[in-house]
Amino acid sequence: MSPPSAGSPLRVSVDLNLCQAYGQCCYAAPRHFRIDGREALFYDPAPGADARVAIERARVACPVQAIRVEDPDA
């Protein structure tokens, strides 16, 4: 999905039970989160390491804390 970058990809998962499709993650990291239809959230589970800042912005922005991130290189 993301172009190759230095470092291991991040690992992202979203608890879609919690997600209420507010879309804040889509504004924070538009290349990695998208809402299809009314509330079907699509996310990139393995964004490149260069997306670190955007992904962290999305994680923090989520009002229901549904986004979990691991940075294997951290």
Partner: protein, 425 residues
């Protein structure tokens, strides 16, 4: 179980529940050696994308590794199944002959796809099941090759998701199920009918009240499916989506109460032996565990839900770390399914529902919450593109609120609520 020496823990199964349990054990202070055994050659990965964006090609099959807490210090034994459990010697025997001793053990072996009943037909090129990453990679490759038609056998959540994916790829798709609508066993035919209408509008050829009798090959490859009524469906790909079987065969001979429906646990989460006595060294979590659910009068249930695997794993991890949870595991069952770009979510369990009311929105708009009642109490709710109302419904269910609920709980007056038959079998 006062730790006199360093205690050793083993987790069998290396999926979602295994990872979350390992995190919970470490968080609760367990510092001994912690081994994780998995028959797949992969670290824990997420399965929900496998029937959705992995099949559309947007997510590569190897991209769904689960995020976890760093620094867990786990000893991974991957690519080798546990073959046997010896509770007397307190050892897990692996298929390669090694034995792992344990003082505390978590059973988290999940489920596998129920195979097509005819093994010869099930192995035919063109016939697929979907449970793991390799299955998804193989099915994705078959769909990308542009088959003339895909026949999906079984209209449960995964079958319906796969049928929608086929349509989004422009592939002709037929969905066959003996029930009256998709998802009739879980949602009932009233709400299932809406999912059916969505599939039909999407161009899926629906065959309800029908059954595939056999699969025919030519030159060893699938060419058509034969229905019991004599109809033939020309298809180069068949997806067998007939539900799941619990991975408990390795527990045979262990003296635990286990069968293809799960391994039994008590209210705390400890597994039970054949006489119903808990083994305080062993817990179970996730899809494989069958346990009495406090919300449903202690009825024993085994759930195949992502959220449940996480929550029960955290509970079991704490239990095994010696941090005795103060209440039995009682998390509200929750589930989601993406039917193309339509989100279906549920809270609670619909089993035995005798009535359903559209509490928000309406069926015709395909945007609603259906609240299910049983004997005058709220027991479950299902939303279609209407997730924001679900937490309020979960509250009604947790409180066993009267059904139909009063006006405060719905977007219209209770007296104007239409009470429908759920259409559960």
């Amino acid at each position: 179980m006062a730790p006199s020496r360093t205690e050793r823990a083993v987790i069998v199964g290396a999926g979602l529940a295994a990872l979350r349990a390992a995190e919970a054990m470490r968080a609760a202070g367990f510092s001994g050696p912690l081994a994780v055994v998995g028959d797949e050659p992969y670290r824990p990965y997420d399965r929900p994308p496998l029937s959705k964006h992995v099949l559309t090609g947007e997510t590569p099959p190897d991209a769904t590794a689960l995020p976890g807490r760093p620094g867990l210090a786990l000893d991974w034994h991957l690519g080798v199944p546990a073959a046997r459990l010896d509770r007397t010697a307190q050892e897990v025997h692996l298929a390669d002959g090694r034995a792992l001793p344990y003082d505390r053990l978590l059973i988290a072996t999940g489920t596998r796809a129920r195979p097509w009943p005819n093994p010869h037909e099930g192995r035919m090129p063109g016939v697929f099941t979907l449970r793991g990453r390799d299955d998804a990679a193989a099915l994705r490759a078959a769909l990308a090759a542009g088959p003339r038609r895909v026949v999906v056998i079984g209209a449960g959540f995964i079958g319906c998701e796969v049928a929608r994916v086929c349509r989004s790829l422009g592939l002709p798709a037929t969905l066959v199920d003996p029930g009256p609508t998709p998802l009739a066993r879980v949602l009932g035919s009233t709400v299932g009918g809406v999912v059916g209408a969505l599939l039909r509008e999407d161009g899926v050829d629906l065959r309800f009240g029908a059954q595939v009798e056999w699969l025919e090959d030519e030159g060893g490859r699938l060419v058509r499916a034969h229905l019991t009524d004599g109809t033939r469906i020309e298809a180069e790909v068949a997806v067998v989506a007939l539900g799941a079987v619990r991975n408990t065969a390795w527990l045979t001979g262990s003296g635990l109460s286990a069968d293809p429906g799960g391994v039994d646990c008590d209210a705390d989460g400890h597994v039970l032996d054949a006489d119903g006595r808990p083994d305080p060294r062993i817990a179970a979590a996730g899809d494989v565990a069958r346990f009495p659910h406090p919300l449903y009068d202690g009825r024993r249930v085994a759930l195949e839900h992502w959220g449940h695997a996480e929550a029960q794993a955290v509970h079991a991890g704490r239990l095994l770390a010696g941090d005795r949870p103060d209440a039995p595991y009682s998390a509200m069952p929750t589930f989601w399914s993406m039917q193309g770009d339509v989100m279906v979510k549920s809270v609670g369990l619909t089993d035995g529902a005798d009535a359903v009311a559209i509490a928000y929105g309406d069926l015709a708009a395909r945007r609603f919450v259906a609240l299910y009642g049983r004997a005058g109490r709220c027991i479950a709710a299902v939303s279609v593109d209407c997730a924001r109302w679900l937490p309020a419904c979960a509250e009604l269910i947790a409180a066993r609120a009267p059904f139909p609920p009063d006006g405060a709980a719905v977007d219209r007056n209770a007296r104007s609520l239409d009470i429908l038959a759920p259409g559960l079998p």
